[in-house]
Amino acid sequence: MPINHEEFRPTIVAFCCNWCSYAGADLAGSSRLAYPADVKIIRVPCSCRVNPMFILRAFEKGADGVILCGCHPGDCHYSTGNYYARRRMTLLFSMLDYLGVENGRTRVEWVSAAEGVKFSETMNSFVEKVRSLGPNVRLGDLRCKN
């Protein structure tokens, strides 16, 4: 699809666990499964490494969407990490929703190392969702907007 540079290009931070989702992203890459360049991946050892602080920080500094990808529940390299992440993120996202932040800006998706296709599809749909929501104005630091 040709890229229209006029449209809103969101900044999307994707936290990917090293064992499954980062590898899934690699597989998406080696399978040449395109997704928008708006997505920038940060490698973390496990989805349970992602502190809510990181997510808020991303929004503070101007991210329009934050997605966390980890191993499927049951497949965590560290056995239990994604279970904790799942609870933490559920509660955090619920709180953000409660504060009136559009709930489409945050997402958790379980992507295995074999799911290059899912990774690419997830990123495409997430970017599309965030684009439809427009720039993040409710959760950003004004000092970072210039």
């Binding site: 809510p52 602080m53 808020l56 929004f59 503070e60 529940p73 049951g74 239990t80 279970y83 904790y84 799942r86 609870r87 933490r88 993120m89 559920t90 509660l91 955090l92 996202f93 619920s94 709180m95 953000l96 929703d97 409660y98 504060l99 009136g100 932040v101 559009e102 709930n103 489409g104 945050t106 997402r107 958790v108 409710r138 959760l139 950003g140 630091d141 004004l142 000092r143």
Partner: protein, 321 residues
Amino acid sequence: MQELINRAKSLLESGEVSRVLGWRKGETDWDVEPAFFNSAEELSEFIYNGFCGANLSKYMIEASKLEGKTLVFLKPCDTYSFNQLCKEHRVDREKAYIIGVGCKGKLKIENIDAAGILEVRGAGYPDASEILTVKTLYGDREVSYKSAMLERCHVCKGKEHMVYDERMGESADTSDADRFAEVAKIEAMSPEEKFAFFQSELSKCIRCNACRNVCPACSCRKCVFDSTKFDSAQKANTTSFEEKMFHIIRAFHVAGRCTDCGECSRVCPQGIPLHLFNRKFIKDINALYGDYQAGADTDSKGPLTDFRLDDCEPSIVTKRG
């Protein structure tokens, strides 16, 4: 009240306890302050009345480091905080002699028209009355006890003490409201309304940290918002984001540990209903992971340090709309 003083005196004299943690008389009826009493003489300033809302559990962190036992007076709701602190090894049960003191609801002076108040009658213990008589510089007035109560007393957790060595005085379950009604009301709002509501409340925040410093769950030696290590130190809300950041993270850090003691809302100088954050987490935890009351015991796993294989997915937030 005199029985409390007498009991404290005898425990001090017997050497069973080395000091007493209670409340001291102030300049006015409502001006009572938490205080340590080291001798029988000092206890003459002891008071226990309707304005003794302060939760003394957190003071036990420091008291646990002192020689000997500390006699501490805990209201039923305070005992939850004490248990939670025990669970987290922040207080030492062995260092505390707990007198579970009766409570029939505590008062908030702001809820009584504060202009020029000199005296409030009927706020004493144990004679909490239906009607408070208030003497002011501008004439006398009356208010109902219920209408002057702290928010938390309207959603009272019950009259039972969760931990104590002995109990004195009678308690009453003062709940007369649905604990989650306010949260549910906000949940039902549109995102725009929610945002406007919190924006207007949080814009008042002056980051005085009263909520944090009074909170028995916020017992970190150094808060992340004071720590330079975490790259998150903040002293003031420079923009509206920082207000949210502080309150979201604070609520998250106490999620599953907050006993809903309501101290944060009690002390906020700007009257921000901070309990709405904590209670939102409690409501979600109850709904998604099963009913959980922090501080009801000292050995259960907290909901955020636990999981089930079939927990709901975070997408539930989007799905429930």
